[in-house]
Symmetry: C2
Subunit: 271 residues, 2 copies
DNA sequence: TTGCTCCTCACGTCACGTGAGGTGGC
DNA sequence: TTGCTCCTCACGTCACGTGAGGTGGC
């Protein structure tokens, strides 16, 4: 072994496989100190070992290669620490999502199906303060929590008189394509002064079959399934985007078990 | 909507995207109740909703599609529960690995490099009780813990007289290819009666540069890096597989901070 | 000289997502 | 009739792993 390392020696020095080192070379993440122009043989230096160790640790935390690149390219320690902290928050969010999923699996395997009280009713057209955005289904929950909090704060700040239950309207493509338009609204009287995200709007009338979902959103698909079964049995064709009404939601309490969400499946007005 | 569901309606009923439903059809995981032979249109029934809900929950826990298939195909509840429990244990192992990785990243970012006491010495050939296997690098830690525990128990049970420090020998390909032969051994006198995994063997002599690693194995690459830097500086060519000697290890205590592992980098005998 | 190492394609993995281009159903 | 839905390829994503087939270095 000379004062520089062949890829095999560097592999043993860093516990990264040869294939991985070639991959990081190609990705520009860890470029060999030199490459023999005739043979293509890669050469690494001892100084590159600590860089490889850092990279290995970030990958151990499943930080994407592109982000590691960004972290290493940043000379400002504050920016760098923020990038790392952001990733650690993502890991924590992932963990809590997994914990929810475990609880949710246990629920479904152990608990009997509930008795569902499905109703049909007509919603009249109403003016409201609105936040509207096109987004990914998997970002929908985080988006909803932020949007509803902001909307609620704006309604209070502008001293608008709330005239109905806060709600949401979700494009069909959000479910079927995993991407689509979502709207949250709070019905209210008076003129909404537009802000960066909030504007005034008119929520259209609708005839809906509804079922109230109790608790956090991790099991909300069960309620959707029950409602879908009902409308299928009664041969009610779908008519427009799904609605939700948050009779008790994040705008009221942080206690998820207290949340009551009315799922509204729009149907043709048959009366 | 009729009493059966089009793929789009089923998508809204289950919160699975259309693309995902087609994928599960192709994979045989969730096959539509019927497919129109002329148009290829898929039809799902209300009864399939609860199956879809189960599948969605398992996927939320990142259980591979093939394993979900196996779980659903199993009629024996005991077998089924064991499959699920195995997956949950895997999730927990993953979590503790991530926690280690976070601590390890913190170590490397916050702690200064240590002072390394590298020595060179000659190991003489010695008889030993041995477990030997070809394995993946990523399974190496779990394999090592199990193998060393078993080996230690066998040496005691057979009342063999231990004549040296327990060790391991790891093929170069285990590092460079991520797959290769690993050996753990306990030097001892007397005849080893072979068991399913344990046999007698002769550990060859070697000249090694060594450095002691302190604590758990999550940071062992740092010690490898320091040792590699040393041998590179002194232009010592690698000669044979890496060795490790477990002066204090899992065979002695469960307290990882007490572990002392001597990493041995084999070099040519130059004396 | 003989293995062992290193090289570059090229393709596979996994669970879908992203279009393209065309057709069916209300 | 017009959108919207549904269909089937075919390819992309991500971080490598797995060969194939050939060459360099000690």
């Amino acid at each position: 072994m000379a004062t520089s390392f062949s890829i095999g020696d560097f592999s043993r020095a860093t516990h990264l496989t040869v294939k991985t080192l070639r991959h990081y070379h190609e990705a520009g993440l860890l470029v060999p100190a030199s490459v023999d122009p005739r043979t293509g043989y890669r050469r690494y230096t001892a100084e590159q070992i600590s860089l490889a160790q850092i990279i290995r640790r970030f990958r151990g935390l499943e930080m994407p290669v592109g982000e590691i690149h960004a972290v290493l390219a940043t000379s400002d320690p504050a920016v760098r620490n923020e990038l790392i902290a952001t990733h650690l928050r993502r890991l924590e969010a992932e963990l809590s999502r997994t914990q929810d999923a475990v609880a949710s699996l246990r629920d479904i395997l152990e608990q009997p199906a509930k008795d569902h009280r499905i109703e049909r009713r007509r919603i009249e057209q109403a003016p409201a303060a609105v936040i509207r955005e096109t987004l990914r289904a998997k970002d929908a929950l985080a988006w909803f929590l932020g949007a509803m909090t902001e909307l609620s704060a704006i309604v209070k700040a502008q001293k608008l008189s709330q005239s109905g239950v806060p709600g949401g309207i979700f494009a069909n493509s959000l479910f079927s394509q995993g991407r689509g338009e979502a709207i949250v609204f709070i019905p209210c009287k008076g003129t909404v002064r537009p802000t960066a995200r909030v504007s005034g709007g008119l929520i259209p009338a609708a005839e809906i079959a509804t079922l109230v979902h109790e608790g956090s959103f991790s099991n909300v698909d069960l309620t959707y399934g029950a409602l879908a079964t009902y409308v299928a049995r009664h041969a009610l064709p779908l008519h427009g985007p799904i609605r939700e009404y948050y009779h008790c939601g994040p705008q009221d309490t942080a206690d998820e078990t207290a949340w009551r969400t009315e799922i509204g499946w729009p149907i043709f007005h048959t009366g």
